[in-house]
Amino acid sequence: MSNEFLLSAIIFLPTVGALVLSIMDGGAEKALRKIGYFTTAATFALTLVLLAEFDSSVSGMQMEVKAEWIKNWNVNYQLGVDGISLTLVLLTGLVCFLAMLASDSIKKDIKGYLILFLLLETGMLGVFLSLDFFLFYVFWEVMLLPMYFLIGIWGGPRREYAAMKFFLYTLVGSVLMLIALLMFYFGSATTTSPGSFDLLHLARIGQGKVPGLVFSETLQMTAFVLLFIGFAIKVPVVPFHTWLPDAHVEAPTPISMILAGVLLKMGGYGILRIAFPICPQGAQWASYVLVFLGVLSIIYGAFAAMAQTDFKRLVAYSSVSHMGYVLLGIAVWKLSEGKTVGAEYWKMGMNGAMFQMLAHGISSAGMFFMVGVIYDRVHHRDVNKFGGLMGLMPLYGGLAVGIFFAGLGLPGLCGFIGEVFTVLSAWNYHPIMAIISASGVILTAGYILWTIQRVFLGPEYKGPHPEAITPILPREAFIGFVLLGFAILLGVYPESMFGLMRESINQLVNDLVKVDMSSLAGVNTLLKR
């Protein structure tokens, strides 16, 4: 398969699957599921082909595709992949495949479910692969519709409320992003050429590399704030996070896996791909706030998780806490008198943040899956009404504890690397921030160990339906083994991921460091005065 075609194939293969499903008979449940398995597996296989074709020594975009879409507005169908997007595409392919395997518990309207599931996958892959802001925005929104229905139809008792809340929050973020999109578009227009939506071109303008075209500081600051709020809602960063626990609690298990495993990463990706490269001055100007919000998310998420009795809510808040490290790692851009201090540390933070996204994608998907497995059996999620599961379901207990340890950040498992890198890099930015964020690790250990104690350990199971506790099924065990396997692989051999994304991330940092910040120093002193 030619490389030009590969990226489009990855994005639209799930759509093709959805189209095939839509003309099939809704009653043929087995056949429908088979199409679902096959499509997600094939998509994952294609992402592996992409991995094989990918040259990790190149820092820039690879396999770029560019075709005219809306010519009067200079909108292009433009795709490309670099180290940052490749790893997330791989993660999406894997998590979607596993979530599809985990979808056997969904019995209602399976046809509609599978169609929406596959459309959702198209939306997510499109977001990670598009290089045109307009196209990015379209995919970003396309993903909303299936998600809304997946939560709203197949969710728990308060599903309509949760679905609407999710939709509203994301739409608020989207419209803010839309304003930023228009600002960039008109800001990049010259007398001879219309504006552009090309993210790479916009980044060059933002970094002052295009002669005669600049995004002024005011524009960069405004646009950065708009973009950041849009992405922060998705991450989610603390004041914007309240949709997440509701959405997670109400969503069915496989959708929770996707939500935590992939959707949250879109926020972090947006910050890395759009907000920082196009608005470096805005990003630098806001870096204090970003670091603060990152640390706040870590601590707040951990405390909130500790207070939960609903197992799923607990895991949801742990996501808030873990994604805080991502923001922290991205934001530690220390500037002194217009010069970047310790760019190496920032690179470490950025790499750590990206790694944390992947690790969290594995561990949180795993945690939600493990909650789902027990919920399918006993139909409750009250942490205080479990206990003794290790004895009743030994294999399940072992897998679950392994994955929870990965979330905890135990050395040797995936969660550790990202946390350590980001916390270390934060020291260069501000020691106090580093100390507070490091203490988050202890809080995480606190709530996870306490959860393990209440759920898996203890002499006996205390909740309802003890008779329903049956050993884990082979299908479920397979999903658990795959996730735990990746958690261990990433933990003992992080280079597997760092090797893919290092060049692209370091290039991004190098580009940003070179941006002239002298004028910004003036603004900062003006603000401080």
Binding site: N72, V138, E141, L176
Partner: protein
């Protein structure tokens, strides 16, 4: 000049030039006459009125499309405009665009009424005469070039609409709605007529292209705002706008809209919400451009236009906000769609506000080099919005009509569980609702981005337009809840037991119709280029954009030149081809 030559030139103007260009309207007129004749001779028992009306409107559509093709085939015609009927009407690509828009809509509505059988066989000729007559008025609105025609066209549109709203004779609600509509309409028409008389009295002409010239002479650079004539002028403009705002159902002239929609049948409500909007926006754009003229006005006159633009923007923002907020509590779907119509009129009006600000503002970026280009973009965004709005709103109303025919209910809660009964209808409704919210990849998104982009551009001319932009963007979020509420019922709730199940498979006539109307909503969001190009050249053909300064022509000379096509300066052709293009 002897009298005979006067008559000769008039004949030449009417028969040689005007009538062929007036073909669409003539087709409609002929259909109306035929409908009445057939009824008189009892032929309507053999050939139903609906078939005749459909044939007539398809003929009209075909003629309009032929006129469009003529323009697109002959490059030297592009950007040219012809004043017909001694300058009462104007014929340009903008006219043709709206003709196709209105005729296409008429065909779809007539077909919908045929399927639904809303006028029974007995009443069909009456109903279609009203429908076609009203559309004829709209066609005139779209090509009006004279204040007299402006008033006549609006009245011609309104009077049949009143009757159509009250057409369900047995229903009290229907009669009440019609009465309210008449009272409001008469009031608005009166105010508008007074405005027109003030305006033409003040400026000495009622011909739209001459208004700007007269205005410049009156206003001039040395005039001051405290001049009484300028005050009267502003008042006159506002009064004319009241009449247009009534047709657009803009706040505060919207009170008739929810009642009329609720009382009328869904088909008529859909007709009123889309067609009258298209025609009224065309008229509004022509009127605004006539007032601002092609040259940037000077002095206090300039401030008048910027303030007028901003004022229209505020009204637009209020309309959008009010419409969206009031739609929340509605339980009847037609009332909800009525408020949604008000909100969408607000969004579209923002484009007109942006247009006025862009044309009027003294502080233009880049010294105003791209002023015309930006103004054309504002109009073409509006035109694109209209086309998308046609399909998404007609789609919603058509589905309401289809469901009404099955369950006899128009309550939102009675849509519960529709997806289990008629998945095709539910999915079509979903597409329409999401397009109305403005979600990609549907047409509603693209059109909204176009309008917001124009408003964004206008902030560079006049910064308070930021408020309008924020209001527009925020309203997109507000509108989410009530549109999605309908989907909540359709997709999340179980069907209600006491109602007949809605059984409309995709393979039925209804199902195909729903698909036919909904599919373009999706296509307009994905394949933008074609329609955008046409909308762009239609906007660029507007006289103020293609002529730098109003050409010399003698006001006192009564027999005006019959064909006053624009001078063949190189600008129009260039302006008509989109500048970007990769």
């Amino acid at each position: 000049m002897p009298f005979s030559s006067l008559v000769d030139s008039l004949m030449q103007d009417t028969l040689g030039v005007s009538l062929p260009l007036f073909a669409t309207e003539l087709a409609i007129c002929a259909t109306i006459v035929l409908l009445l004749l057939f009824r008189l001779l009892n032929l309507d028992q053999r050939i139903p009125g609906a078939v005749l009306a459909l044939a007539g409107s398809i003929a009209g559509l075909g003629l309009a499309v032929m006129q469009h093709l003529q323009y697109s085939q002959e490059a030297d015609l592009v950007g040219q405009s012809v004043e017909i009927f001694t300058g009462l009407l104007i014929y340009d690509q903008f006219t043709i665009y709206l003709r196709i828009f209105l005729m296409l809509f008429l065909v779809l509505v007539v077909y919908l009424t045929m399927l639904g059988g809303i006028p029974d066989r007995e009443d069909a000729p009456d109903f279609y005469v009203l429908l076609l007559g009203s559309t004829l008025g709209m066609l005139l609105m779209a090509s009006a070039n004279h204040l007299l025609i402006v008033f006549l066209a609006i009245e011609m549109t309104s009077v049949p609409s009143y009757a159509m709203v009250g057409f369900l004779k047995g229903r009290r609600q229907s009669s009440e709605a019609a009465l309210k509509y008449v009272v409001y309409g008469a009031g608005a028409a009166g105010v508008m007529l007074y405005g027109i008389s003030l305006l033409s009295g003040l400026l000495g002409t009622a011909n739209l292209p001459e208004l700007a010239q007269a205005l410049t002479a009156l206003g001039g650079a040395d005039s001051a705002l405290d001049q009484p004539s300028l005050w009267t002028l502003s008042l006159a403009i506002l009064m004319v706008l009241v009449g247009v705002a009534f047709k657009l159902s803009i706040v505060p002239f919207h009170f008739w809209c929810p009642d009329a929609f609720e009382g009328a049948s869904a088909e008529v409500a859909g007709y009123l919400s889309v067609a009258s909007k298209g025609a009224a926006f065309a008229l509004l754009v022509r009127f605004c451009l006539a007032m601002t003229g092609s040259a940037v006005p000077a002095g206090d006159l300039q401030t008048v236009f910027v303030h007028l633009g901003f004022g229209i923007g505020i009204i637009a923002a209020i309309s959008a906000t009010f419409g969206n907020l009031a739609a929340y509590t509605q339980t009847n779907i037609k009332r909800m769609l009525a408020y949604s119509t008000i909100a969408h009129a607000g969004y579209m009006l923002m484009a007109v506000a942006a247009l006025l600000v862009i044309l009027g503002s003294p502080d233009a970026p880049d010294g105003g080099a791209q002023r015309t280009e930006h103004a054309i973009r504002a109009v073409s965004g509006l035109l694109y919005y209209l086309v998308v709005y046609l399909f998404m709103n007609l789609g919603a109303f058509a589905i309401v009509a289809i469901i009404r025919n099955q369950t006899f209910s128009e309550q939102i809660e009675d849509y519960s569980g529709l997806v289990r009964q008629s998945p095709a209808l539910a999915v079509c409704m979903l597409a329409c609702m999401f397009s109305l919210i403005g979600m990609p990849p549907l047409g509603g998104f693209v059109s909204k981005v176009m309008v917001f982009a124009s408003v964004f551009k206008s902030t560079e001319y006049y910064w308070p337009m930021w408020f309008i932009l924020s209001a527009g963007v925020l309203n997109t979020v507000f509108s989410l809840i009530y549109y999605v509420n309908v989907l909540n019922y359709m997709f999340f709730k179980p069907p209600r037991e006491h109602l007949e199940p809605v059984n409309v498979p995709l393979a039925s006539a209804y199902g195909r119709y729903a698909l036919l109307v909904t599919l373009p909503v999706f296509l307009l969001g994905v394949m933008v280029n074609r329609i955008d190009d046409v909308a762009y050249s239609a906007s660029a053909s507007l006289k103020s954009f293609s002529v730098p300064v109003v050409a010399n022509h003698d006001n006192a000379d009564p027999p005006r030149q019959s064909v006053r096509s624009t001078p063949a300066i190189p600008a129009p052709v260039e302006a008509a081809t989109p500048v970007s293009g990769g």
